[in-house]
């Protein structure tokens, strides 16, 4: 029986144990692990979670009992002090001696502390172990201002930790940019801007000369003569491999540190292997977990006789969320060779930066940098990894894939079968496809359990899910439009089921036609269906509504709500304006004119909502349904009553239309517009339904959209009179309400409708399906049921009592806080 000793119980040392025990049990090999730290291996990658609530226990990769269950002799708090290579033995600081057949060095690295005057002062820390963090936490309680030395990956993480401790935070970097090893200047600029807005002060190009203080530090002095007062310093200026044991044992060490290994991960002694951050392969120390894990697997194969698998180096691409900002860099981020041309997209407003390096012939991607939004990281990274030829113009890749229908980066289908989808667990596209093909009912969870994909850093989850869908589709399986795991029906099927069976509550529906308890996807859809079928006010089904519909207001940062009274057509009397003003003043609300020609009052507390509405209703207002998937506004221009060009009274017509459809629930929100002439000042062609005056009557347009994907409305009918216009819109809206998928605006619905606008004209104008009468009648039924839900809410004491933050106290939420903005209030930044 072979005997293996592992020195170091860190992330990679643990992976070694986990993997080797999967194939070789205690009858075939004995395994002893020495760890210097007091506890078993923990997740260093997520170390910072310790600051936001995770306990040391939570961070453990496996509990102590796991080692026992797997016959691993784990000795924590015990430092190995010497290796006797001749006799194949090790010694520990407790004087213990133990022999081995194979020795594995997984001693990792320690934080590098540069030789600056004053580093020994109190209040100077590094950021590597739970003990370091405990010290930082304790010290940080006594102070207000702290700095991180080093603006690399880890330094920025440490800065986040300081922010979490509510300290005034500085990052001091020697180079002229942040993350100098991963980012270019432009990327660093964007990241710096974002971090600054999040409250991190960043100083670049600063060489620290001395850490000042008397006993404990009180400031930093820089080479340029400037000074920064801080009470704590966290040093994060790189790592130093822990090669001291190996050095003392005369193993070959790289001149810049690290134990030299070959492609079998052997050191200069064939009985000693080195893996993880202590190993140096081809002049490289890999400071990441994924390459360390790969090393662990290769070392196991080699030691146990499977010689084919060797270590071939590792891709250093990374994707992280730094202080809430996505940062990704992959392949060759700097495009260092001449034959490569960078393409760059930069938007300072959104804080998004995308740099893609493409070969001069425009055929291959070689690497890139993504800041602010790294959703496409996986697919772009795969394109580099698999040297895939571009199928679109390189410029198209600068646009985010999900922001467009086609073009741009290709989907998962185009990847080769060997493409490694999960690099933590080394799972390929082929493996996942095979699983799905073998079992068409397999779920993401099955894939996780069987292959280990998505269980490491989790970054590959979206890709695995896309791959699963693509594989099902390629098998000819209908990827059914089921709402969610609780209902095997689409929205339209449920519409019919509810209507035919006259179902009136969610619990009845799920008991008779679904399973489980429902979820945040199906509940609001069902609520919207009840409203569309019975036009019951949202508040009747409050606990299946999204929070906006539950409390009849839009939730905003900090848990406050906004209030939007209806102002039909944008027309308002001076008295009503005064009434809004006095309500806003009384409750201290921030007021703003919206893009929908009305007034939004922000910052109301939950319990104030009924009181505010009581006053607004008193003044003659009604709910504006800004919180609902329902009619919002019908925008108007001033029209023939005042405008010298106007040919019809657009304001009166807009008010009539808005009054008609107010409160109408639909798959998504609805907006309308009425313009008094062809100049189109009401922008009616960007609305779900738009009406434009002509000399002879009105032109009717449908399915326009503003928002993120603007689309012009299509002409449905020309020169119709007012009555016909309303009849057509009745039919159109009702047809949409009955057939659209959840959360689909009319524009998207039309894009997916077979036959497009021509077909829609057939149905709505020519009545080819013979549905017109029914549609009009159904609409009439819904409209007759309209009531202002706020009126009901304030007059029913039971409903009114729901508007309280606590069930057992009338106190307000003490965690709310506001700051001043140009003389009005706004919520404090996200926590």
């Amino acid at each position: 029986m072979k005997k293996i000793i592992v020195i170091g119980n860190g992330m990679v040392g643990y992976k070694f144990c986990e993997k080797i025990r999967k194939t070789f049990d205690a009858s075939r090999l004995s395994l002893t692990v020495y760890g210097e730290e007091p506890r078993p291996a923990y997740d260093r990658v997520h170390l910072s979670n310790y600051f936001s609530g995770a306990t040391a226990e939570d961070l453990l990769l496996a509990p102590r009992s796991w080692y026992e269950d797997n016959d691993i002799n784990l000795l924590t708090g015990e430092l190995v002090t010497a290796i006797d290579r001749e006799n194949r033995q090790i010694y520990t600081h407790k004087g213990k001696r133990e022999s081995y057949d194979y020795l594995v060095l997984a001693t990792g690295s320690s934080a590098f502390v540069p030789p600056i005057r004053g580093v020994e002062r109190h209040g100077v820390f590094v950021y590597r172990t739970i003990e370091d963090l405990n010290q930082i936490l304790t010290y940080g309680k006594k102070i207000k201002k702290a700095a991180v030395l080093g603006g690399g990956l880890l330094g920025l993480e440490a800065a986040k930790a300081l922010l979490d401790m509510s300290l005034e935070t500085y990052v001091v970097e020697f180079a002229d940019r942040l993350m100098p090893r991963q980012l270019d200047d432009a990327a660093s600029d964007i990241l710096r801007m974002k971090l600054t807005t999040l409250g991190v002060n960043i100083l670049l190009g600063k060489a620290t000369k001395e850490i000042k203080g008397n006993g404990k530090l009180d400031g930093l002095e820089f080479a340029d003569g400037t000074h920064l007062d801080v009470e704590m310093l966290v040093i994060s200026t790189g790592i130093r491999p822990r090669d001291e044991l190996a050095k003392a044992a005369n193993l070959t060490i790289h001149e810049r540190g690290g134990v030299l290994v070959n492609e079998q991960l052997q050191t200069s002694d064939t009985h000693i292997y080195a893996i993880g951050e202590v190993a140096c392969y081809q002049n490289m120390i890999y400071g990441l977990v994924a390459p360390g894990n790969e090393m662990a697997e290769v070392a196991i194969d080699q030691m146990m006789g499977a010689k084919e698998r060797i270590f071939k180096g590792f891709d250093m691409s990374t994707k992280l969320k730094l202080i809430g900002v996505d940062v990704g860099c992959f392949g060759d981020p700097f495009g260092s060779s001449d034959a490569v041309k960078p393409l760059v997209y930069k938007n300072e407003n959104t804080g998004i930066y995308r740099r893609l390096n493409v070969t001069a012939d425009g055929k291959y991607l070689t690497g890139g940098i993504l800041i602010g939004d790294a959703d496409d990281y996986n697919i772009l990274h795969q394109m580099v990894q698999n040297k895939m030829k571009l199928t679109v113009a390189p410029e198209a890749l600068l646009v985010k894939t999900s922001a467009k229908e086609e073009g741009g980066a290709p989907g998962v289908e185009s990847l080769p079968d060997e493409a490694v989808i999960c690099s933590c667990e080394n799972v390929t596209k082929g493996q996942i496809q095979d699983m799905v093909r073998a079992n068409e009912n397999c779920t993401i969870n099955d894939i996780k359990a069987q292959t280990g994909a998505c269980t490491g850093c989790g970054g590959c989850t979206p890709m695995v899910s896309d791959l699963m869908k693509a594989s099902l589709k390629s098998m000819g399986k209908l990827v059914k439009n089921n709402l969610c795991e609780h209902f095997d029906y689409s929205r339209q099927e449920l519409y019919d089921l509810i209507k035919i069976n006259d179902i009136r509550s969610f619990s009845t529906l799920i008991k008779t036609n679904g399973k489980g308890h429902g979820c945040e996807v199906c509940k609001p859809v069902v609520a919207s269906l009840f409203a569309s079928i019975y036009n019951e006010p949202a508040i009747v089904h409050d606990t299946i509504q999204d929070t906006n519909d539950r409390f009849l207001a839009n939730i905003q940062r900090g848990g406050t709500y906004s209030v939007v009274p209806r102002i039909p057509g944008g027309e308002i009397t001076p008295d009503k304006l005064l009434a809004i003003g006095s309500v806003a003043k009384k409750y201290g609300l921030y007021t703003k004119i919206t893009g929908g020609q009305r007034i939004d009052l922000f910052g109301a507390l939950l319990h104030q909502l009924p009181d505010i509405w009581e006053e607004l209703i008193e003044a003659g207002f009604e709910s504006g349904h800004a919180y609902a998937k329902s009619l919002r506004t019908v925008k108007s221009c001033v029209g023939s009553t005042w405008c010298r060009y106007g040919v019809q009274d657009s304001v009166s017509f807009a008010i009539r239309v808005e009054e008609r459809y107010k409160g109408l629930r639909s798959p998504h929100k609805l907006k309308g517009g009425v313009s008094g002439c062809i100049r189109e000042c009401a922008e009616a062609q960007s609305k779900d339904f738009g009406i434009i005056a002509t000399e002879k009557g009105w032109n009717v347009y449908v399915c326009g959209n503003g928002g993120s994907r603007p689309q012009h409305a299509c002409l449905l009918a020309t020169d119709v009179d007012a009555e016909t216009c309303i009849r057509l819109i009745d039919r159109f809206l009702m047809y949409y309400i009955k057939t659209a998928a959840p959360l689909t605006r009319t524009a998207t619905w039309l894009n997916k409708l077979d036959g497009g606008i021509e077909y829609l004209k057939e149905v709505v104008v020519k009545d080819s399906l013979g549905l017109a009468d029914t549609l009009e009648k159904e609409m009439q039924g819904l409209l007759e049921n309209y009531e202002c839900e706020w009126k009901r809410a304030i007059s029913d004491p039971d409903l009114r009592s729901k508007f309280a933050h606590f069930v057992n106290s009338t106190e307000e939420d003490a965690s709310l806080s506001f700051v001043d903005l140009r003389g009005q209030k706004m919520p404090a930044a996200w926590g």
């Binding site: 509940k523 606990t543 999204d546």
Partner: protein
């Protein structure tokens, strides 16, 4: 927010070891198949019931994603067998049993024991 979490943590306890059963409110004050927020000392606890009040759960009211005091206003539901709540802000979902985030890489939330006696809801704390 770190203090809030630490304070919550220091009050957390397993069902068998509860020291204080806090009498929160009568059952009928809670919406059926929904949630409400209970104040205990300076803590905010979200309390939910499922199956018309047959099953009860409690957890921290603070959503770890953007540190918002809001989970009690979230939609409840299930994921497989696991009861869950979805944060109204960005729809992170959390298991009401383990506190684990089910659809993103967020911190685990703390959960608390709940019992119903004589038509009152009680929440269990360590102190």
């Amino acid at each position: 927010m770190v203090e809030i979490l630490n304070s919550l943590k220091s009050h957390q306890v397993l069902a068998e070891e509860v020291k204080v059963w806090y009498k929160a409110a009568p059952v009928d004050r809670f919406p059926i198949d929904g949630g409400a927020c209970v104040k205990y000392k300076d803590l905010q606890i979200a309390v939910f019931n499922f199956d018309s009040g047959k099953e009860w759960y409690a957890c921290q009211n603070l959503c770890p994603h953007k540190m918002q005091m809001i989970l009690s206003r979230g939609l409840t539901g299930s994921c497989g067998e696991e009861p869950k709540v979805a944060c109204p802000y960005h729809k992170r979902t959390f298991s009401l049993k383990s506190g684990e985030c089910l659809n993103a890489d967020e911190e685990r939330i703390l959960t608390f024991p709940v019992k119903v006696e004589a038509n009152h809801v009680y929440i269990g704390f360590s102190r």
